[in-house]
């Protein structure tokens, strides 16, 4: 017993640097932001920051933009990522490993480089529009960048590998005999995907969805560059509030509202996971 508790003490000791780091690096700044959001520019204690934000259409439209970017990114990642994960999980581990390198390669490039890369591809005289016009798919260039579409394309490109990783891992974990059993019992490929593979990989899909939300709710560079000033999620509003108005109080309040949104969505995903676990069993 003494040995076990000695071991535990050692583990706690080893965890200390990380605890201190998160304390200073994450919790203290949040406490600071909370404090700051209750002061106005003159340094007076007030709740006016929140009052102004919550009654402003700009705030609500920024929230709308943030949410719709995140939800659309997740929707497209799901539509593209689940078949991709299925394909990766059904080939041999060796082939899957090689394909995975291709999938993860973009993550090794700087996000700024990649974002400007998309500008080159998507702009009016870019590669994609030249192709559309040359093949007659469209008689004039399609507006693909400096708008919502552009921001969305960039964000999906960034998030897809991060979404696929946990989904693929969950699918890879499914025992091959379970899939074979479903087939032997009469399930077609799609039936098997719907009744066995997807239900058994919901954990991975929810993890993927969590990653997508955590990243995209605070995304800045991609909407800033590819949105061309027309797409203004909360992250961009915070930056403007600071750079244009130097209003630390209002920026902090916005940041806190965003944090609350992230927490709400996180709680929602956790309860969805719990519900699915209960619901699927009784199906």
């Amino acid at each position: 017993m003494s040995e076990a508790s000695g071991e535990r003490r050692l583990f706690i000791l080893l965890a200390c640097p990380a605890i201190v780091l998160t304390g200073f690096g994450a919790i203290l700044p949040i406490v600071w932001i909370i404090r700051q959001s209750f002061f106005d520019k003159a340094g007076e204690l007030t709740i006016a920051n929140y009052g102004r934000l919550l009654t402003s259409d700009l705030t609500w439209s920024a929230f709308g933009t943030t949410l719709s970017l995140s939800v659309m990114t997740l929707a497209i990642c799901t539509i593209l990522g689940i078949p991709l994960s299925l394909a990766l999980a059904s080939v041999s581990r060796k082939t899957a490993g090689r394909l995975m390198i291709l999938l993860l390669l973009p993550l090794w490039t700087s996000i700024l480089v990649r974002t400007y890369g998309w500008v080159v591809l998507l702009r009016r005289d870019g590669l994609i529009n030249s192709f559309f016009v040359a093949t007659g798919l469209s008689d004039q260039p399609v507006p693909l960048v400096y708008n919502f579409t552009g921001a969305l394309i960039g964000m999906v490109h960034y998030m897809l590998p991060l979404f696929v990783l946990p989904v693929y891992a969950a699918m890879r974990d499914i025992d091959g005999n379970i899939v074979r059993a479903a087939a032997s019992l009469g399930a077609s490929f799609w039936k098997c995907v719907r009744t066995v593979i997807l239900p058994l990989s919901t954990g991975g899909v929810i993890s993927g969805a969590t990653v997508v939300f955590v990243y995209t709710l605070g995304f800045f560079i991609t909407p800033a560059v590819l949105g061309g000033g027309k797409v203004n999620p909360i992250s961009i509003r915070i930056e403007r509030t600071l750079s244009t108005f130097q209003d630390w109080g209002e920026a902090s309040a916005l940041g806190l509202l965003l944090l609350i949104l992230v927490m709400l969505i996180g709680a929602m995903l956790v309860s969805v996971r719990r519900l699915l676990r209960l619901g699927v069993r009784n199906a």
């Binding site: 059993a181 009469g186 058994l200 699927v280």
Partner: protein, 346 residues
């Protein structure tokens, strides 16, 4: 739930993985309603053959027919074959009842009827009232029963079982052997059973196909496989076989082929004789061991040949007195000696 038993015919099946031949021209014809076991060591091709019947392995050559219908190219989900897997392969996200009703739901059986049929199948494997439980709440033996119920509930054309008992402990395994056999006899369904456990094969089967290196070495009833093996591999794979040069044995019947070796099972020996006709083998004791229901003794009979004899417990007194190095004489009835082709250079 009485099913029409169908014959299965496997014709010249070949399957290679690179340079490795998993199935080397395998043909079997399995009778309607038969319980046939594929017995062999790992890598012998038994599981490959089973998976080819199930449709998960595509043979390079040859064909498989069930009830006269060629199913070689049919996808697994259209074959109507009940399979019980080694690790049960139950759906962990479904209740016991949902697992068993799954094949019925796929066949669009109305919900009420599906539940009734699934419950009947659960009753058949003695799991009445377990329908609402989750798979994780079941013991290994109970999971195996659920897997059995799920495999028979949709009245499959044939049943395939891939080492279904290997994950269970010994007592439960022996009990389940009888239960699976009883289930087979109740349903009358043609069943192919894969195992590497010779005792399981002997206990359960109508016939056993012993496989090695992608080929069927012998296909026969359990007693014939055990007493009249066609070759050394079969002789050694089942039970404890001694294969001796015929000149080491005195008193062999005159009809014994001179160029053959003699196979004698360890339990066919005795260290005394009751006056009936017998052969004798002389040697010196190398080792002895008490094993509960019997004694094992190892005897050096010269020319580098050792034999193993299993003596019944009522020879305990004599066995206890044996000393390593002393001369012993072993007796066996001529009827217990089986000629087997010699592989020694003549």
């Amino acid at each position: 739930m009485s099913l029409k038993a169908l014959p299965i015919s496997v014709n010249g099946l070949k399957k290679g993985y690179g340079t490795f031949l998993a199935l080397d021209d395998v043909s079997i014809s399995i009778r309607p309603g038969e319980f046939l076991t594929l017995l062999g060591p790992s890598g012998s091709g038994k599981t490959t053959l089973l998976m080819a019947m199930a449709g998960f392995v595509r043979p390079d050559k040859g064909s498989i027919e069930i009830g006269g219908r060629d199913i070689t190219r049919l996808p697994p989900n259209k074959r109507d074959i009940g399979i019980v897997f080694q690790n049960y392969a139950l759906f962990p996200h479904m209740s016991v009842l949902a697992n068993v009703a799954y094949p019925l739901r796929l066949r669009n059986v109305p919900r009420k009827q599906a539940i009734a049929q699934a419950e009947a199948a659960l009753a058949r494997v003695k799991l009445e009232g377990f329908g609402d439980r989750s798979i994780s709440a079941l013991s290994g033996g109970q999971r195996q029963r659920v897997a059995l119920a799920r495999a028979v509930v949709f009245e499959p054309r044939i049943m395939l079982m891939d080492e279904p008992l290997s994950a269970l402990d010994k007592n439960l395994r022996e009990q389940m052997q009888f239960e699976i056999r009883r289930l087979h006899d109740d349903l009358g369904i043609t069943t192919i059973y894969v195992t590497h456990d010779q005792r399981e094969a002997l206990t359960m089967s109508d016939r056993i196909a012993v496989m090695d290196r992608g080929r069927i070495q012998q296909l026969d009833e359990p007693q014939k496989i055990y007493n009249r093996p066609l070759n050394r591999f079969v002789a050694h794979f089942l039970g404890e076989a001694n294969i001796l040069a015929s000149n080491a044995i005195s008193g062999l019947p005159s009809g014994f082929p001179a160029t053959s070796d003699a196979m004698i099972r360890a339990e066919s020996f005795d260290i005394q004789h009751d006056g009936k006709p017998h052969v004798t083998i002389k040697g010196s004791l190398v080792a002895k061991a008490f094993r509960g229901e019997n004694w094992l003794i190892q005897v050096d009979i010269g020319e580098g040949q050792h034999l193993l004899a299993s003596l019944p417990a009522d020879r305990s007194a004599q066995c206890q007195e044996l000393v390593v190095g002393q001369n012993v004489i072993l007796y066996a009835s001529p009827s217990q000696i089986h000629a087997i082709a010699s592989e020694r250079p003549q």
